[in-house]
Amino acid sequence: MSGKIRNRLGLVAFGALVLVFNLGPILWGILGSLRPRDEIMRYPPQPVPSSLSLEHYRTIAEGGFLSAAQASLIYAVVTVVVSLIAGSIAAYALDRIRFVGRSVVMFLVLAGIPLASGAAALIVPTYLYMVRLGLNDTIFVLPLVYIAYNLPTAVWVLRGALGGVSRELDEAAAIDGAGRLRTLFEILLPLCKPALGAAALFCFVGAWNEFVAGSVLVDNPDLRPIQVSIYQNMGYFGRDWGPLLASATLAIFPIIIAFLIFGRLLISGLTKGAVKG
């Protein structure tokens, strides 16, 4: 018995350690956002602030942070919606239809994942390319780029999930006279809700956190995304830690909300899909 208790205690300690390792820096940052400016950097560091205030939050609210957050929210939602629609149709074709060029398309999708992950390194060619297309500094450019960055992952997750749905359902639907798209949207996708949730989460986080394209491809202040707005606190005149931490703290909340909404689906979505390869 005592061995079992010791095991149990060991497990709890392990869990606690991981959690502290995980959240330490973030809680420290959030605490910093509430400190007076001249107390954020202190030696020795003070775990307990002398006073808490929302002054940095007021500062960023006056400096255009909220409009950047709003722009990013729109970008992220558009990215999620378009990626899920285009992605599930493509995933369906890749999983269910044997057409010419399927393996080429599959390669384009798979190779797109690392390409999107390393896209920041090619930002200058991307900028010149967008200028040539006339898309630079338009309201479309960031949603389009974010869709392109996140679509490969969405297709990958959704294809895995559709692969786990029995084909007998398709046949039954075909006998009932349903077309392919109707079968997909009315029968198959409702069964893939978890995978849709997982894909939505990846797309949302990807679009919300993107920085490099956001800093280069738009000039108009109204189009600026949230990460650029946060980064502007690390300016030529130095890091302005108060507003920097305050805006970074606020930027976490939509992500947490997205996790609360879709998080339940995340594990089972991936279980049915992506992790099977």
Binding site: P36, R37, D38, I40, M41, R42, Y43, T59, E62, G63, G64, I74, V77, V78, V81, V82, A86, V124, Y127, L128, V131, R132, L133, G134, L135, N136, I139, F140, P143, L144, I147, S215, V216, D219, N220, P221, D222, R224, V228, Y231, Q232, M234, G235, Y236, F237, G238, R239, D240, W241, P243
Partner: protein
């Protein structure tokens, strides 16, 4: 062209759904300006820029200014790319470190017509000269700065160090030792902190040594070719290494960025740092202490300080601008005497005009502003700008690599400098 239109239409159709187009209002001449400041922002300099732009629009009813804030460390490169693609803004702030490179691409227009000869004489300094060629003026300066020593007066007073007596390198060594509190792992405060990391660093003691007394043997040749492996360089590296070895300067500094060093200064960990004069305003805020002194780099000669790099943001007009006159007017307006004055008094920047410095002598002499006066004087007496059109990009990283070789690996200073010089020259094709 036709395919482009089709493409554009197609792409719009794919993603447009939730977005409403922006209302366009463009009956007037609109001047686009790229800067790293947000005129709607909350810092003192941003407020000044907002004010100057509002004044400009009030006095030029036909012209609107649209400021497109950029990320400061990407802005100049982005401008060059945009200029090549025909999409640059009318007015641009060019980081003076890249001024030569930008001018060589022919992206900057002559704006001399917007200035009177008196104006130009008043604005004159080595950086404006660097932007001037054969009577053509390709830009004037904003936000001047020079690298030097930044010190908390409170700590100096506690240790009985008078900043005015730091005239020679030996004085600096002695002061740094005196200002250091505690030692080893228990050090509470270092006398002199240096940022000697690999990326995002300011030039410091080594550059001061290399530039001082280099007549006839310049540290950077006409093209920007490096010439560092000499006695001055060795003395500089030895000085840096000795400060670290004695414990007066932190070993951790070998991986600090400049921001890291400023944070340590804010935390009271450093009595003096090797920093940029332009940062003092925000350091006053982050330390909650207005009494911060700016001290020129000492030299071997008690009569005068070391030479040191200066830089600014050169404001200019893009050659491709459709409204070059209006754009040049804006550039001139931002440096006219009235604007220069509020840049100094409200924005805490150094005066761009000699007349402003004279007029505001009393203001600059106030205790909390005295650092501005010292920096402005240092720029005038010992400021160094690279030779016209020279490309010296990346030299700071190479110099710090040499320092790290010596301090961490015990390399021979001359050998380390040779390697750094060679790496730099090879990369530039010099």
């Amino acid at each position: 062209m036709n395919t482009n239109t089709t493409l554009r239409g197609l792409m719009a159709a794919v993603a447009l759904c939730a977005l409403t187009p922006l209302a366009l209002h463009a009956q007037q001449t609109t001047i686009r300006m790229w800067t790293f400041l947000n005129p709607e922002g909350s810092t003192v300099r941003e407020k000044v820029l907002g004010k100057v732009i509002a004044d400009f629009e009030a006095s030029h009813p036909g012209i609107r200014v649209r400021t497109e804030q950029q990320v400061w460390d990407q802005m100049t490169q982005k401008f060059m790319a945009a200029s090549g693609a025909g999409n640059a803004p009318d007015v641009i702030w060019v980081n003076s470190d890249l001024l030569g490179t930008v001018m060589q691409t022919g992206a900057l227009a002559d704006i001399s017509a917007a200035f009177t000869p008196e104006d130009l004489a008043d604005l004159d300094n080595p950086l404006v000269q660097a932007a001037t060629e054969g009577g053509k003026v390709y830009g004037v300066g904003q936000s001047y700065m020079i690298f030097g020593l930044i010190a908390r007066k409170r700590f100096l007073d506690e240790a009985g160090v008078d900043p005015a007596t730091i005239r020679t390198w030996d004085d600096l060594d002695a002061a740094a030792q005196k200002l250091t509190k505690g030692s080893g792992a228990a050090v509470e405060r270092w006398g002199l902190c240096q940022d000697l990391g690999m990326t995002k660093i300011d030039p410091g003691i080594l550059l001061a040594h290399l530039l001082t007394g280099d007549e006839g043997d310049p540290a950077f040749g006409e093209t920007g070719r490096a010439n560092w492996a000499n006695e001055r360089g060795v003395a500089g590296i030895r000085r840096v290494a000795a400060l670290i070895d004695s414990g007066a300067s932190p070993r951790e500094g070998l991986n600090w960025t400049n921001d890291e060093m400023y944070d340590q200064f804010s935390a009271g960990r450093c009595a003096i740092i090797t920093g940029a004069s332009v940062r003092i305003g925000s350091l006053q805020q982050s330390t909650g202490d207005d009494d911060i002194a700016f001290i020129p780099y000492p030299s071997d000669d008690p009569e005068g300080p070391s030479r040191q790099a200066i830089s600014n943001w050169t404001t200019s007009v893009w050659t491709g601008s459709k409204n070059p006159e209006a754009a040049a007017q804006l550039v001139a307006f931002m440096t006219r005497p009235e604007a220069d004055e509020i840049w100094v008094t409200e924005g805490g920047t150094l005066p761009a005009r000699a007349s402003t410095a004279e007029k505001l002598a009393d203001f600059l002499n106030q205790p909390s502003n005295r650092h501005m006066l010292s920096a402005a004087n240092y720029i005038r007496s010992s400021g160094w700008v690279p030779p016209f059109g020279a490309d010296i990009s990346g030299y700071r990283d190479d110099m710090d690599r040499a320092i790290q070789q010596v301090v961490m690996n015990g390399a021979d200073p001359m050998q380390a400098l040779k390697e750094a010089e060679q790496a730099y020259n090879t990369r530039h094709g010099y």
